[in-house]
């Protein structure tokens, strides 16, 4: 029984990381209409930079995490301004921005591979927070607490910004119809920059946490994260961060529980099949009843 509860908690922590990524991906799509294939690279880069900070600069974990997130956010803004902004101005649709993001995916992954050169990277164990909290029979290792805390904080924060703040209403206006929003006096470019900044930072957070949780990782870390995060976003219906968070966490739990029954090689396939299934069989999301796609 304890092991079952521990597995559930484990799944929640893992799913929380997927959910973080899903929120980042969904935010970019629902606001700016970009299906950003480069987002996985933001996560990889954040993990690698975080590792450099922790390893070579011997910074404490919290600082390393912050530096990784910061890097990812800056890169996200750069990519947005270099590639998506000119395409937005030309009125290129979703497809051209998707293709552009694939270009950046290759470039950033190439750079990340260039920077690391090693097949496997590890966060040094000594700097990791290593406490364990005992809940009755169940033990909560520190990293799981960090992941769970991160998803709760980010979900509440992002929800507060999008649904409650003035800036959030500008974001929603741009997501609904950029031209109309511009006519109504919204500074679309500013919204784009801040949205890219936030989503890049959240993707980076997911990347560092995934890097730590995975143990040994490489520059391809983001690719796997991206597919699972994207699946969470598709299932959760993009626009509402709370639903994406729930979908991501459920996805993590199901994955952990299935691990005992599904052969190891097929475990990733599970995510992809779920993604295709949701894309093809339902035009609406499971949780939200929102239409997939922008109005």
């Amino acid at each position: 029984m304890e092991s079952f509860v521990a597995q559930i908690v484990n799944g929640c922590a893992l799913g929380g990381i997927y959910a973080l990524f899903g929120i980042a991906f969904g935010m970019m799509f629902s606001t700016l209409g970009v299906l950003n294939a480069a987002m996985g690279s933001y996560a990889s880069i954040a993990a690698i930079v975080g590792l450099f900070a922790a390893d070579d600069l011997a910074l404490p974990f919290s600082l390393a995490l912050g530096i990784g997130v910061f890097y990812a956010a800056v890169i996200a803004v750069l990519v947005d301004q270099l590639a998506f902004q000119p395409l937005r101005r030309q009125g290129g649709g979703l497809i051209s921005s998707l293709i552009a993001s694939m270009g950046f995916w290759v470039i950033l992954d190439g750079l990340a591979g260039y920077a690391t050169r090693q097949p496997g990277l590890n966060f040094p164990v000594e700097i990791m927070p290593s406490f364990v909290i005992q809940f009755g029979q169940v033990q909560l290792p520190a990293m799981q607490i960090v992941s769970l805390g991160a998803i709760v904080l980010v979900t509440t924060g992002a929800y507060a910004v999008i649904a409650r703040s003035r800036f959030g209403s500008a974001m929603r206006a741009v997501g609904y119809h950029p031209d109309t929003a511009a006519i109504a006096g919204v500074n679309v470019r500013r919204v784009a920059i801040y949205t890219a900044l936030m989503s890049g930072g959240i993707a980076g957070l997911a990347g560092v946490l995934a890097g730590v949780t995975t143990g040994t990782f490489n520059a391809a870390l983001g690719q796997g994260l991206m597919l699972k995060g994207m699946t969470a976003a598709v299932i959760g219906g993009y626009a509402d961060v709370r639903l994406v968070a729930i979908a991501g966490i459920l996805f993590g739990v199901v994955e952990v529980l299935c691990a005992s029954y599904v052969p190891a090689g097929f475990r990733d396939g599970f995510a992809y099949v779920l993604l295709i299934g949701f894309l093809l069989l339902r035009h609406r999301s499971l949780l939200g009843g929102l239409r997939l796609g922008r109005t």
Partner: protein, 296 residues
């Protein structure tokens, strides 16, 4: 003829790969020209290529027949998937096909009988240069015929404005299904060629990098005429070889940059028949009676 075999020995594999990629890019163009971005040709290629590998290893069927079988297998797979893929809106089709590429790899890795699992399979069958050359030429001729057919006419309208196409009596879904069929056949052929040219197949033969080369070729070369993807794919194959000599280990970074530059500065690609037509039209428009014209 000596220089020819020397050339083949030195650059044969690169030239062969360029031709393979050209066929892949055409397979991508086949759906793109009906307004559907799909990475499914990678999966069609996997079906064709793995079938070809098995046929080479276990039978003595002539190569031409193997190539054809691969194409037919790709076509069959495409027709199986297309109805489902076309149910969703455009950009979701693209995403679903990305996931399809990833699923394909998972399946191939876990069924060792197909490609020998992670280690891959060596496919030994001496290959004359004629096979990829002839296949590419046939595919190009096929695309040329399609371009001039009523299907080609319909697809141009469907891509430009589906609502207008429906208003002209064009069945959008049917047009796109045909596009998928063509894509499946060309993708299957490309898969066979890839296996034959590399004389090797593994789960990684048909993966995201093929999708990237395919779309980059079609975008850089231009996706408004069948010649564009061919030129683009050749450029994209040679580009890494070139940048590698300048910047070692640069991998696909050069292609990525070329893709971005093309998207922003050459949105219709290198080869665009419209540019020529526009020049002619503008010249003629100023010559004939009505000097008022507008550029879009």
């Amino acid at each position: 003829m000596q220089w020819l075999s020397d050339f083949w020995a030195a650059y044969g594999s690169l030239a062969g790969l360029a031709m393979v990629n050209a066929v892949f890019a055409l397979a991508c163009y086949a759906t793109l020209s009906t307004g559907v971005l799909s990475f499914a040709p990678v999966a069609f290629g996997a079906v064709g290529g793995i079938l070809a590998a098995q046929l080479v290893l276990h039978t003595t069927i002539p190569l031409a027949l193997i190539v054809l079988c691969g194409g037919m297998a790709g076509l069959g797979f495409a027709m199986l998937l297309a109805p489902a893929l076309l149910r969703v809106e455009g950009h979701w089709t693209a995403l679903a096909t990305v996931a399809l590429v990833l699923v394909t790899r998972v399946v191939v890795r876990n069924v060792p009988a197909l490609t020998g699992g992670d280690n891959g399979l060596t496919v030994t069958r001496p290959l004359s240069m004629a096979v990829p050359v002839v296949t590419l030429l046939c595919v190009m001729l096929g695309f040329r015929a399609l371009h001039h057919s009523w299907y080609g006419i319909a697809s141009r309208v469907v891509r430009d404005d589906p609502a207008v196409a429906a208003g002209l009596g064009i069945n959008i879904r049917q047009t796109r299904l045909i596009g998928f069929g063509v894509s499946g056949f060309a993708g299957g052929l490309a898969g066979v060629l890839l296996v034959l040219v590399q004389q090797f197949v593994s789960p990684d033969s048909f993966y995201v990098h093929v999708a990237f080369v395919m779309i980059t070729g079609a975008v850089i070369g231009g996706s408004f005429h069948w010649l564009g993807p061919v030129l683009g794919a050749i450029a994209v194959t040679l580009l890494p070889a070139l940048t590698e000599t300048l910047v070692p280990d640069s991998q696909d970074i050069g292609s990525g940059i070329a893709l971005l530059l093309a998207l922003v500065f050459l949105p219709r690609g290198l080869f665009d028949p419209r540019v020529v037509l526009l020049q002619l039209s503008l010249a003629q428009a100023t010559r004939t009676r009505d000097p008022r014209y507008e550029r879009r």
